[in-house]
């Protein structure tokens, strides 16, 4: 089912956590709410799920505004950041919990729970307690438990942040597979732009309670709407020119002879080898550093190009970019 937010607002006293946001998530989409901590993404998710009361505005799920309906009456299910598996119940009884609350008989609810555990490949560990499962296994159980309620929209609060990097990538694939197979709408909160890029049909970049940009991942990366988006999504240099701000992808920067007409002299301050590419940090007069300790500009060179013309910290080099690669920013 599609989800629509209209002027959704959350205030805590005088502080505004979510500031009148509007958003349409089409049915069956994988939507990521992306932003730094404190940007209001989790509060937004909790308001959609009915775990937080909206101060103003509306959440519309499918055909109707849900208002103050209880979480279980919205057609949503939530996967909590810590998974919140009940420690006194084994995996199967955790998954069967919603059926038990509805008064479904023991044999029937256990059979349904087993079927769902098989879907997430956890059937063989159905008798384990949460404490006896690894992080990734716990997550599968939490997913099965949420799915058993038959949600139209699944809400995921930083589902991968507790996993180690290797497992994170595997579970990412798994989430996408299940979402596609079941045709559900997923709304997934994350602070990892990599995760958002890999998973979503719709990336919603949030900052300070507002939506900076809501678009497909490619548009967000190719044409970031604001300087914040360009910096947060990474891989971009945000450059202040007399005529306004532009973003240039780090891999479209040109060094030395290829620097072109916009070339300026720069000092190499950092060289990081990354395998297939090399990241070169540069400082130039008149350009501010985005944050303490990072270079004003970053150029990403292929390892072959770098090997042909190696650079070392302290070297001076001219830097520029293709006019076509420069993207004008709103603010």
């Amino acid at each position: 089912m599609n989800v629509e937010l209209i002027g959704l607002t959350k205030r805590y006293g005088t502080a505004i956590a979510v500031d009148a946001i509007d958003l349409k998530v089409p049915s069956g989409a994988y939507c990521c709410l992306l932003g730094p901590s404190g940007c209001g993404k989790t509060t937004t998710l909790r308001m959609i799920g009915g775990h937080e009361r909206a101060s103003a505005g509306e959440v519309v799920i499918g055909p109707k505004a849900v208002g103050d309906a209880a979480p279980s009456e919205r057609g949503t299910a939530m996967m909590f950041q810590s998974y919140a598996l009940f420690p006194h119940l084994d995996a199967r009884d955790n998954v069967a919990f919603s059926l038990k609350m509805r008064g479904v008989g023991k044999a029937e609810r256990r059979a349904e729970a087993m079927a769902m555990l098989d879907l997430v490949q956890m059937g063989h560990l159905a008798g384990r307690l949460p404490a006896q499962l690894s992080g990734g296994q716990q997550q599968r159980v939490a997913l099965a438990r949420a799915l058993l309620t038959g949600p139209k929209v699944l809400l995921l609060d930083e589902p991968l942040s507790a996993l180690d990097p290797f497992l994170r990538v595997r579970m990412r694939v798994e989430l996408k597979r299940i979402q596609t197979e079941l045709g559900l709408t997923f709304i997934h909160v994350t602070h990892s732009q990599e995760e958002a890029m890999a998973l979503s049909d719709l990336v919603v970049v949030m900052n300070a309670g507002r939506i900076e940009q809501a678009s497909d991942p490619r548009t967000v990366f190719e044409r970031p709407a604001t300087a914040f988006v360009a910096r947060f999504i990474g891989g971009h240099n945000v450059i202040r020119l007399p005529g306004g701000m532009i973003a240039v992808r780090a891999d479209r920067m040109r060094l030395g002879a290829e620097a072109g007409h916009a070339a300026m002299p720069a000092r190499v301050v950092a060289v990081e080898y990354q395998g297939t590419s090399v990241h070169v940090g540069l400082d130039a007069d008149g350009l501010e550093r985005p944050s303490e300790g990072s270079a004003a500009l970053t150029a990403v060179l292929s390892d072959v190009d770098f090997a042909a013309r190696p650079l070392r910290p302290g070297d001076t080099v001219t830097v520029g970019w293709d006019m076509a690669a420069a993207h004008r920013l709103d603010a």
């Binding site: 909590f80 810590s82 008798g127 309620t149």
Partner: protein, 297 residues
């Protein structure tokens, strides 16, 4: 950090040993002396070893019915335990949610620990005397038959129960505070997300998860009540609890019988706590073992 232990270690170890001795020394002394020989006295040296004094105890101690007092203490302890667990649990829930005047209610509850026990006890005694005066005045004024031979409202399950609750409830509340502090509200949110009502969430999620802590509060409530003396002293009414009888006996009984009684009651408390802990551990182990056996249930 595999350095040899310094002087500080041995010094602190000595302090700890002294502490343990101080803590258990009296109990061990009483334990030893309760096995005093038949011709032995109230102090060391031991004059032989026997269970003579336990046998004497079994026959009864003079005019005092010690077993009736033990039964009263047990019954009162169980009632205090049940009330303490129930009230402290719900109070903990209320304080976690927060309400107007929470700070004041908390201060009032805890101040009961600061006021000297004997003062609380005297106050309760006086309070009940006022109530009794009121009932008597009512009896005179109305002439109602059932009020005419009114004695006192004081008793085991009125004034004594109240006195014990002034002692156990603040402790129970403090423990529940600590427990709820570490309780992740996500469990309750998950339960509600899965369609549980408030009552179902309490029954199927909160209580089972907190069960070990609730058992702890129960044991605490029971043992605090079982050996309470000062608060009960002025608020007990006609029939004494075991600690009060024991205090009385110390002035009249001059044989190691009293030690045998001490050993018996201590064993009783230890047994109650040991059983509860053992049962909890056994249940946990069994649950874990069954799950790990990989039973596809």
């Amino acid at each position: 950090m595999d350095r040899p232990r310094g002087r500080a270690f041995y010094l602190l170890a000595c302090v700890f040993a002294l502490y343990v001795l101080f803590l258990y020394g009296p109990t061990l002394t009483i334990l030893a002396l309760s096995f005093q020989g038949p011709s032995g006295g109230l102090t060391f040296p031991m004059n032989g070893v026997s269970t003579h004094w336990f046998a004497k105890l079994w026959e009864g101690v003079g005019v005092v019915d010690i077993w009736a007092a033990l039964r009263r203490s047990l019954a009162l302890g169980l009632v205090v335990m049940a009330l303490t667990v129930t009230i402290a649990f719900y109070a903990g829930l209320a304080f976690r949610k927060g309400f107007r005047g929470a700070g004041l209610v908390f201060a009032l509850a805890v101040s009961s620990l600061i006021v000297p026990s004997i003062v609380v006890s005297l106050g309760i005694g006086l309070e009940f005397r006022l109530l009794d005066d009121g009932v008597k005045a009512l009896a005179t004024a109305t002439g109602w038959g059932f009020l005419q031979d009114h004695g006192t409202l004081m008793g085991l399950y009125s004034s004594a129960l109240g006195a014990h609750l002034t002692w156990t409830l603040p402790f129970g509340l403090l423990i529940m505070f600590a427990v709820f502090n570490r309780f992740d509200p996500a469990y309750e949110e998950a339960a509600r997300d899965l369609g549980a009502t408030g009552a179902q969430t309490l029954r199927h999620v909160v209580v089972p998860i907190l069960a070990p802590a609730l058992v702890g509060v129960a044991l605490f409530g029971f043992t605090l009540s079982f050996d309470e003396l000062a608060r009960t002293s002025q608020a007990i009414g006609g029939r004494n609890t075991l600690p009060l009888e024991l205090q009385g006996l110390t002035t009249t009984v001059t044989t190691p019988e009293i030690y045998a009684l001490g050993t018996t009651t201590t064993a009783f408390s230890a047994l109650a706590i040991g059983t509860a802990l053992g049962l909890t551990l056994w249940l946990q182990k069994r649950r874990a073992r069954r799950a790990l056996a990989g039973l596809r249930p």
